[in-house]
């Protein structure tokens, strides 16, 4: 790979002159500039951004750490991030933690070595270790999707508790009384808050809460499948089910089908999801939809502000609106169930 020196040699100038041409410095004679540009072209010279980064102590790379890019919700988030990044010539390094705090910290270590300028983080837990690490290295960070105890970091997310409340209220309004709650990892804020919303909706309606109908697991299809089976084994008469996310909902769907439970005739199933996937003409899932793309976009923009030293001193929390989309997976509670 040709270096700036090769260009300089070929053009018969000093490296500084080449550097000036590259950076559009004013004080360059048109003739020299032309000669340098000629040399650049013939050598196919490409500036070394690593060397540049070393000088400037700025890599123009940011990290996107999330649990699983395979989840359409996070995919949309990632796309929002990438669109902003591209517009600013930032490169995005992406990392899947699979909700493992250990993986998250391992990644962070690697990313700090790579001198990332900033970090977008979907925290795998509410432990603040990652945030403290980033702060100790003065690397700006914006937390996405989830709440963290730490009060000093920007955060873009939706109101999980309220969303859960509305979803369960929807089921209650349809006449459902025995409603299962299949949630994610308890240390993840969205999972615990959705349970809180579930509880509040039941209490609000004066309905009893059966703790055995509340199950925590993983945000995965397998886990959703297992949780649904577990709940059915405990009480086959449930008529409603609230899955804390789309993967859990798919898993539950499987379990219900295998149990010969028709949706929504025998059982209603509601969940959280990305808005894009629910926005069809006749959505199947009744879901609380979140603007995933916007979450990524907004978070990336906020990170950019921090990188530029802009924005208010204190941490900001942005709550993006959610919307209940009613699909075919929820309907009136059946009068009786075996």
């Amino acid at each position: 790979m040709a270096t700036i020196n090769d260009v300089a040699k070929l053009a018969g100038v000093s490296t500084m002159t080449v550097s000036r041409v590259l950076n559009n410095s004013k004080h360059i004679s048109a003739e020299t500039r032309a000669r340098v540009e000629q040399a650049i072209a013939t050598l196919g010279y490409v500036p070394n951004a690593l060397a540049r980064s070393l000088r400037f102590k700025q890599s123009n790379m940011i990290a996107l750490i999330l649990s699983d890019i395979t989840n359409p919700f996070f995919t949309a988030v990632a796309r929002g991030v990438e669109d902003v990044a591209r517009a600013h010539d930032l490169s995005v390094i992406f990392c899947n933690t699979d909700e493992s705090e250990v993986e998250e910290l391992k990644y962070l270590q690697l990313l700090l070595q790579r001198q990332i300028d900033g970090c977008l983080l979907v925290p795998s837990s509410n432990a603040q270790e990652s945030l403290m690490l980033l702060r100790s290295k003065m690397v700006p960070c914006v937390v996405l999707d989830r709440r963290v105890a730490d009060g000093q970091v920007d955060c873009v997310r939706c109101d999980s508790e309220d969303g859960a409340f509305q979803l369960v209220q929807h089921l209650i309004a349809l006449g459902h009384r025995r409603i299962a709650m299949l949630s994610g990892p308890p240390h993840v804020s969205t999972a615990s808050e959705r349970v809180l919303g579930y509880r509040r909706a039941l209490e609000d309606a004066g309905l009893p809460i059966d703790e055995n109908l509340i199950v925590f697991g993983q945000y995965s299809e397998e886990s959703g499948y297992q949780m649904a089976q577990q709940v059915l084994a405990y009480d086959s008469r449930i008529t409603g089910c609230f899955a804390a996310n789309n993967f859990i909902a798919f898993g539950a769907l499987q379990a219900f089908r295998e149990a010969k439970l028709r949706i929504p005739d025998h059982i209603s199933l509601v969940s959280f999801d990305d808005i894009a996937y629910a926005n069809t003409l006749e959505p199947f899932f009744t879901a609380m939809t979140q603007p995933a793309y916007q979450i990524g976009l907004r978070a990336a923009e906020m990170l950019l502000e921090r990188l530029n030293g802009e924005g208010p001193e204190q941490a900001r929390e942005v709550l993006l609106p959610i919307e209940l989309v009613i699909g075919q997976s929820s309907g009136p509670a059946p009068l009786s169930r075996v």
Copy 2:
């Protein structure tokens, strides 16, 4: 951020000694090593990978260039790539081209500046410009999902023509005679090859080919929607439809629903997709499924080999198996249609 020099000073040794400790060099006294490690810990020192890269002329970063991470197929590919990369301490920079060759080249330029070690590319066209650029810079590349004219590059993909052939054969076996073909961008190999397979299946069955039933567009929902409408406007009696990918299928689904066409009673709809999304108990879409995750995995492994200077001299082409999954979106052709 503390540097290696700060550590050296604090430990009262030279920077080289610190470097040796960091790289687990043998010839270090236990006592010195301990002192250095102590200094590293108290300073919270993190080695600068950029400086290291500059020395080694190796960044340990690879690029993943694809059309749209939002497509579950590519998401699964990305996940496969990332899993391999993580296992080898490589970082993945990801880029969406939206099928634009211009974007692709712009990205490539940026990535070359960042000194990526290798590139995984879902080419936006069969133009070889990108490949020639990479080759001129000696950056190894593996092409994913699509065929390119260039015969000197490793490629991991599925057999689109054969898959299309089987899908259309499936429709024909069900009695369908008037089958629409909604494809992607004509310069993308998967799009053109799926049309070829479509043609071959019809010819094989001795059925006439109506060129007006073959439409090219984008691999997007909107485009699928429009193409379906266009085809319906031309001939409302079609009973079968082959969408070249999942997004097109979704768009077509919308259009058919709006036209009050029930699936599969009035019209059968088949497409290509990722295997994970079709592998449910009762899949809705009849689809030719591709092992997306495996494609990413395999491609990343092949790239790794190239990075290590391994593998055969000449280019390899890996064809991964595809599988027809029959869902509820295809059924016997109706006897008559309005």
